[in-house]
Symmetry: C2
Subunit: 272 residues, 2 copies
């Protein structure tokens, strides 16, 4: 299950996977003959969480910061923030260059989750306020982390994230979810604006921050979109054919990177 196996694999352990142009199924762990941990996207997730643990201060007033920690780490995990790091590395960037963007995405998603629970009568007033606090904090991280020469990239990423999590993106998805009639087509639209858009955003932001070309950015955006669709639809136990179709479409977008190490990025196509 994503989010439960949190391996912290150092870059030196990265394995070179055989290309999987025709088979969308990745090499199974049992085929590996060496006992090193497989570099899985969950290891990127673990990096982001470690960064956030260190970055969100535990200070006075504790009634503000303690729930902030709880809310951030209690939210269900999606692969979108980790995809941001993977895309950055795929275009030749360093993982750390995309860390603030990944953290900002995670914070925005944690807020959306907390507020969704409140909408369902489950959350508390504290969660309401706390959620409100972590969204600007995400943008602050991004702005703070902008090194000399990179503000244009950071600016672009702020716009990307705002659109993906705001109206036109995740907010539309959450609105639609309320009135969804169970029809496959309308569930698809919810997933498109939700998981699809969020993973597309994560991948595109990573590629921007890693210094990718416009073509690389757009390919990775599409890869992310299909990864999000695939994961979102599988989660809702939708038609397995649709899931497979998105997996294949995602794989196609990786063709541009065929001479690069596709180890981690291809694990986004697995459900283990």
């Amino acid at each position: 299950m994503p989010g439960t196996i949190l391996l912290n694999v150092s870059a030196s352990f990265r394995l070179r996977f055989p290309r999987q142009a025709r088979s969308p199924l990745p090499v199974k762990p049992t085929l590996l003959t060496i006992p090193t941990p497989q570099p899985h996207w969950a290891s990127l997730q673990a990096d982001i969480e470690a960064y956030l643990k260190q970055t969100i201060p535990i200070k006075d007033p504790l009634e503000v910061y303690e729930p902030m920690h709880r809310l951030v780490f209690a939210a269900p995990r999606t692969a979108a923030p980790a995809l941001c790091l993977a895309a950055c590395e795929l275009v030749g960037g360093q993982r750390c260059q995309a860390m603030d963007a990944a953290a900002a995405l995670l914070l925005n998603l944690a807020n959306a989750h907390a507020h969704e629970e409140i909408g369902q009568g489950e959350g508390s007033n504290i969660a309401l306020l706390t959620g409100d606090g972590i969204v600007p904090f995400g943008f602050e991280l991004l702005a703070r982390g902008a090194g000399p020469g990179s503000p244009e990239r950071v600016m672009r990423v702020i716009i990307e994230i705002s659109r993906a999590v705001g109206s036109g993106g995740l907010i539309d998805s959450l609105h639609m979810k309320k009135s969804v009639d169970g029809e496959v087509e309308s569930v698809k639209r919810v997933v498109e604006k939700g998981e699809g858009g969020l993973h597309a955003c994560g991948a595109a932001c990573g590629a921007v921050l890693g210094g990718g070309s416009e073509e690389e950015i757009e390919r990775l955006r599409k890869f992310g979109f299909h990864v999000g669709m695939m994961r979102g639809m599988a989660q809702r136990a939708l038609n397995n054919e649709d899931v497979e179709e998105h997996r294949n479409l995602a794989l196609k977008e990786l063709h541009l990177f065929k001479d690069t190490d596709l180890g981690i990025i291809s694990t986004f196509l697995n459900f283990y």
Copy 2:
């Protein structure tokens, strides 16, 4: 009442007020012999609202955008966004340079207001989601508006606004408000983190975007803080002496700008 008289005064009408170094009370409108409207900070507020009306799209899905408009324009007005424009002009900038920052501040405050109502059991789920949508939109406006050469200033402003509205700022104030015991000192702390910090932020951001020097930025930040304290305390009908003290402290900070047109900025010290 601030926010009700929305005069749209063009810059050419700006009046040069006699300096009021000793009397904190501004010249009363009755002393004016010409029938031109007094340039009041409410005119800046009107500019920000006109900008937001034009900027927030009315498009599908209407169930997202229509409440967004309603929420933004229904929130009670504070002077902090208008102060952002006034500070920008005071240091020699153009009003338009600070418009996105003023709009972002207003959007953040509208969200806080909507969520406060939800916390009190008055708001709807729609308001919850809508509030969540307008916060990233504010940051998007800021990032989008960063012209060539100005991203560093915009980055700084994003950090300033995030801190003022997030944990450590407004969020702390809203938390404290819940447990306030009616003691003047604890109400003061609520106002410090709330109105004080928000007006300080507005003024500092305006000065940054208008190209002010570090000294000008810090003076205007203090001016803003005292304006916020003064207005926040007056609103809570706190000790009038405290209100007057903050008004005088605010006035002192304007000394640096004594050779500049203090027309509009001095109207923040009035309650009409």
